[in-house]
């Protein structure tokens, strides 16, 4: 009978998941899809299968995101509990009617053999990690003559890189890790999840971003070149008052695709940026929003305008959100200016650049590292971040505010800022703006003159007509 229950998910994959109440007599199997097995260790026992309760009780019922399988139940989960279902509907339907046997006691011999094999491999990798840590420690203790210090540093750095690779290799075959990541529940403080997320980003989203910024010439117009290593996600708050009593609601966020046109009413308020680094540690970044297409009639060309500039913003793999409107006074150099474009002018590219501030110099960081007790290297755990590097050298926002070159919006040159403060471009995002119905109000509210200016094509004198010899026209 236990086997019968084991094989039930498979049969539910064969039948329609909505009609689970139908009892089906099936031949029992001794195998089952592994996707279900990975889950069972973590999931709590499911609530009774979903036959529709009366509407009055539905409001109170707590739905399990692992086991909801009807559209109705999914909607309820979304609206009442504000959670999204996890995994496919077929899998959830299968899980709702499966007995919960602990992961380690599942009766599939091949599966258990495979687990044992993976565990053996992981132990091997853990040993290698421990060994590598000890080696690095020994190397660091060694006194080096100053002329060979660079070689020593290179060696330590390459050993640290291989240590990071080992940490990833230790976990990369773990089915639980894979499942957790695919459910979107990966812990970004752990190297393996950072590695997987980075891989996923580079496989699709980064390609799109690179295509947008090269096809729309953000590089080389704003900066010569960029190799993004952090992913960015831009979202604007929707400040829409409630339609019932006109009280302002909590702002919802509207995510913007890279390079999308943004309505001027939406971009009036400062956006929220989600900056996701894929390497460990906190770092300080400078965020600049530059418009590269400000029309200049006098020189018959385009200018740059800075719409936002803030420095010393700490970001880390686990702390990704930056609300541009709510930064401190020691961070903001130029506060948010709504994106605007006058009527008739070509669309304007608003590029968002994430610039990493300089880390501490090598000798400083080394001295700091040596002074710190390396207590963390004793633990064999892979998942803790071992090396705590300093976030970076903070810039003086007040001093930048005093420099007219960087505190003037019009004519702002990002190339100059990058060179002056030794910033490293690590991330980029893009949205576009053009004249629309609400632009006039946005410009008036922001106190921008020129909302009643319209651009029209300049007449280009035609070439003089080359008149042929007279005989042709007779």
């Amino acid at each position: 009978m236990a086997m019968d229950k084991m094989a039930r998910p498979l049969t539910q994959c064969l039948q329609c998941s909505r009609h689970t109440h139908k009892a089906l007599h099936i031949r029992t199997f001794s195998t089952t899809p592994p996707s279900r097995l990975e889950v069972e260790q973590q999931t709590p026992p499911p609530p009774p299968p979903n036959d529709a309760p009366p509407p009055a009780q539905q409001q109170q019922q707590q739905r399990d995101p692992y086991t909801v399988s009807t559209r109705h139940a999914e909607t309820q989960l979304l609206h009442h509990q504000r959670r999204v279902p996890i995994g496919s509907r077929r899998r959830r339907a299968a899980m709702a009617s499966t007995t919960q046997i602990p992961f380690s006691q599942l009766p599939y011999q091949c599966f258990q053999e495979a687990r044992a094999y993976l565990k053996e491999d992981r132990d091997e990798k853990l040993g290698a990690i421990q060994q590598q840590r000890e080696r690095i420690e020994r190397l660091r203790q060694k006194s080096v003559p100053p002329e060979y210090a660079w070689r020593h540093e290179n060696r330590v750095r390459s050993m640290l890189t291989s240590l990071e690779e080992l940490k990833i290799q230790a976990d990369i075959n773990d089915p639980i890790v894979k499942k957790t990541f695919e459910d979107g529940q990966g812990d970004m403080s752990k190297p393996i999840y950072r590695h997987l997320a980075d891989k996923q980003w580079r496989a699709y989203k980064r390609l799109i971003l690179m295509q947008r910024i090269t096809q729309m010439n953000v590089i080389p117009d704003v900066l010569p070149t960029i190799d993004p290593t952090v992913s960015t996600d831009l979202a604007f708050p929707i400040m829409k008052p409630s339609s019932i009593d006109n009280t302002p609601r909590l702002p919802r966020l509207k995510r913007i695709q890279h390079g999308d046109f943004v309505d001027s009413a939406l971009s009036e308020n400062a956006p929220t940026l989600y900056i996701q680094p894929y390497d460990k540690g906190t770092r300080l970044v400078t965020i600049a929003v530059v418009n590269a297409d400000v029309p200049n009639v006098e020189k018959d060309g385009f200018d740059y305008r800075c719409h936002f500039l803030a420095v010393n913003i700490p970001i880390s793999p686990t702390d990704t959100r930056v609300q541009l409107g709510q930064l401190g006074d020691d961070q903001v150099v130029l506060p948010w200016l709504p994106a605007w474009a006058q009527k008739g002018a070509p669309y304007q590219r608003m590029s968002v650049f994430i610039l990493q501030q300089a880390q501490q110099s090598r000798s400083q960081s080394q001295a700091q590292a040596q002074s710190q007790p390396q207590s963390q290297s004793q633990s064999p755990s892979v998942n803790t971040a071992t090396d705590s590097t300093s976030p970076g050298i903070p810039l003086d926002a007040a001093a930048i505010r005093d420099e007219p070159k960087y505190s003037t919006r019009l004519g702002f040159k990002l190339r100059s800022l990058v060179d002056r403060f030794a910033l490293q471009p690590v991330g980029v995002d893009l949205f576009r703006t053009k004249w629309d119905g609400s632009m006039e109000g946005v410009m008036q509210r922001a106190g921008i003159v020129g909302w009643d200016v319209e651009f029209k094509r300049k007449r280009i004198e035609p070439l003089p007509y080359a008149r042929k010899e007279g005989g042709r026209y007779r």
Partner: protein, 268 residues
Amino acid sequence: MTTRTLKAPSMATLACLESALSSLRITQRPTALPRIPQRNASHQAQGRANKAKQGPGKRLGAKKTGGEYVIPGNIIFKQRGTHWFPGDHCFMGRDHTIHAGVPGYVRYYSDPARHPTRKFIGLVFEKDQHLPQPTHAARRRHLGLLAYQMPDPAPSDALSNLDAPSTNPAITPSQPTTITLKPTSNNPQGLQLSLRPGYQYRQSNHEIGQAAERKEAAAQAKGKTTRAYDDFKPGDRFAAWRKSAVRIARNNERKAMGRGNKGKAKAK
């Protein structure tokens, strides 16, 4: 089976008959005329067999040389296929013709950083400029536009002054761009119509789009609502049930009125 009764005359019989008849002939039969050989057509004289000869010239090739001044729309190069590709400020027409996009001077160049083998035609703004531009340099661009004051600088004032509509709704020749309609029961605040493309006096699309919201806001101010149903709340099953009950009742009523019998007849 049938048996042959008639026999063909033998060659000897025929020869006798020939000699007998020859004595009766008036003219002498010409003997041994020289045989003229006949030539049949062994080669097609017309059509595709003789290979298409060179037709009229298609006048392809460069229409503007390097360094020549062009204005937008000028044809720089006519070609079959893409011998040349459009570079800076040029564009390619339907038949691969290269046109100028801005006023400037023509440059024929190759840009290995952009494509290893392609040849490009581009434009520069000044005579001493060259192509391709240095790698990673910001592009050279011209605006090509002039700024004008908008002809109707006060649509927002008109919106804000909706409460006090002007007393002269007639179109005056000096200001034919905007007319104001008097308030009616449908439009208690009057309407401000402006001349739109296509010579129509109407509201802007933006205003039309906001009409429902304005109406609702006005109703809310009076403590009413224009909505047939309450604000949609996801998950409010009771409201949904009421709505669907109304819809079903309406559909039943409609069926009973018009097509009920027809449907029943078909069902039978």
